[in-house]
């Protein structure tokens, strides 16, 4: 995938990039099983072409976009983002895509649209995890409109200069670098504009543990574990590598802090 380095503030980092091998073999994608080795093992069964994303709800131009339309919708950029999982591990991944804002502007949201809901594929035929009842399928995530429009919010179609591997959410996914990884929904099939805040899958499953915002925040522990530190995957020293201190908004506070001015982040976790 041809892409130019992104000029968006915060979209480049000098940190050491996680190896492709680790980024594509250690992740969560419950539609294929709950073990982190399940996605790479079982996601091959997912068919990513033909693929369409329905854009609907409170927009003037609702439409169904094919994956080829999406690839051409805006120039592709490479962005190197930190990714912090709510479980306490992190990676640095070079994604390929463009700001979700490009797509949002194209479909012209109405004034009443305050939230965006993302629905991901749930095909029991090709996704073995969907046959189980770990979560209510399909997987749903959501963002507030200003979060969705933020230039850092990425609609990704690739990583490491290549098309997204199935296990990482092919053919098109969301990447919101200042939020815990589960907010970055994979393999999107529907984007809906709403007036009311949608209920996301983890919020429905365990509301006291996973808030709608889920901004990375070392000061707000998960009810069952601390979020103060993280394990960087592939860190020098391997087993003996020390955990790193987790940063507020995953280190993107300068870019996104203003979105939450005046909000109590302990209440809106």
């Amino acid at each position: 995938l041809a892409a130019r380095p992104s000029a968006v503030a915060g979209a480049q980092t000098v940190e050491r990039v996680t190896s492709y091998d680790h980024a594509s073999s250690y992740n969560n994608f419950y539609e294929f099983g709950t073990d982190k080795s399940d996605p790479v093992q079982y996601a091959g069964s997912m068919k990513t072409r033909p693929w369409t994303v329905a854009v609907e709800g409170l927009v003037n131009k609702p439409q169904v976009l094919g994956i080829d339309d999406l690839l051409k919708l805006a120039p592709l950029e490479e962005r190197v983002y930190r990714l912090r999982c709510v479980e306490g591990w992190s990676m640095v991944i070079p994604w390929v895509g463009y700001s979700l804002a490009e797509l949002i502007r194209k479909v012209e949201p109405q004034g009443s649209a305050k939230f965006v809901e993302f629905t991901t594929l749930a095909d029991p035929g090709t996704m073995r995890g969907v046959r189980g009842r770990v979560l209510d399928w399909p997987y749903i995530e959501g963002l507030r409109m200003d979060e969705a429009l933020h230039p850092l919010t990425l609609l990704a179609v690739g990583m490491y200069g290549q098309v997204l591997p199935n296990q990482n959410g092919a053919p098109v996914r969301l990447v919101v670098p200042w939020k815990y990884g589960f907010k970055s929904a994979k393999s999107l099939v529907k984007i809906r504009f709403l007036e009311r805040q949608p209920v996301n899958s983890w919020g429905r499953s365990a509301p006291q543990e996973y808030g709608f915002y889920s901004n990375v925040n070392p000061d707000v522990p998960h009810p069952r574990w601390s979020q103060a530190t993280e394990r960087r995957i592939g860190e020098e020293g391997g087993l003996f590598a020390k955990r790193r201190k987790t940063e507020r908004f995953n280190g993107y506070e300068a870019q996104v802090g203003a979105l939450y001015a005046g909000m109590d982040l302990k209440t809106f976790y």
Binding site: H22, S25, Y26, Y30, T34, K36, S37, E87, W89, G132, V134, L135, S205, E209, P221, R224, W225, S226, R231, I233, G234, G238, L239, F240, K242, R243
Partner: protein, 200 residues
Amino acid sequence: MRWLGHPVVKPVLFLWLLAPAGYLFWAALADQLGANPAEALIRSLGDWALRMLVAVLAVTPLREITGWAVLARFRRMLGLFVFFYASLHWVSYAWFDMGWEWSDIVSDIYRRPFILVGTLAWLLLLALAATSFNRVIRYLGALRWRALHRGVYAVAVLAILHFYWMRAGKSDFAEVAVYAVLLGTLLAWRLWRRRRRLAH
């Protein structure tokens, strides 16, 4: 089953039960534990502690059902292997996950019930291991020793609770169920036998 009494059986079994630890030690040194070596090591050691626990609790039922009295020879060694793997499990948690930061460990035990429950189970195992020598057994007397070592049933319950809580975040209990059924069956057999004995 006379061969089970052969003097070579016990050392061979010992090496066989030690092999998983040897493999993990090699894998850790050779960086073969995958993307998150600390997590892989800690979980794998926990799995082995659970398997040893199933094995040691299976000794008495197997002995009574098959009539192979010789099985009793292996019970203490199996019990000590439970303690061995549970200890490595806890130490690798404190070392590789917590970096031996005692204040972090204490707050983690306080915050995460599954860590508390696992730590309690390990402390119980420590008490059992410390009283597993012939001299201590003689000192305590058989009755008191036996009463103390029924604590292994509590370890089984705590271990399942620990595993269940750990998996609760993923709401994926398939593996937990396997161990719960195995350990539950072994404990239920003891209750059933006790009731039958009392009835006679």
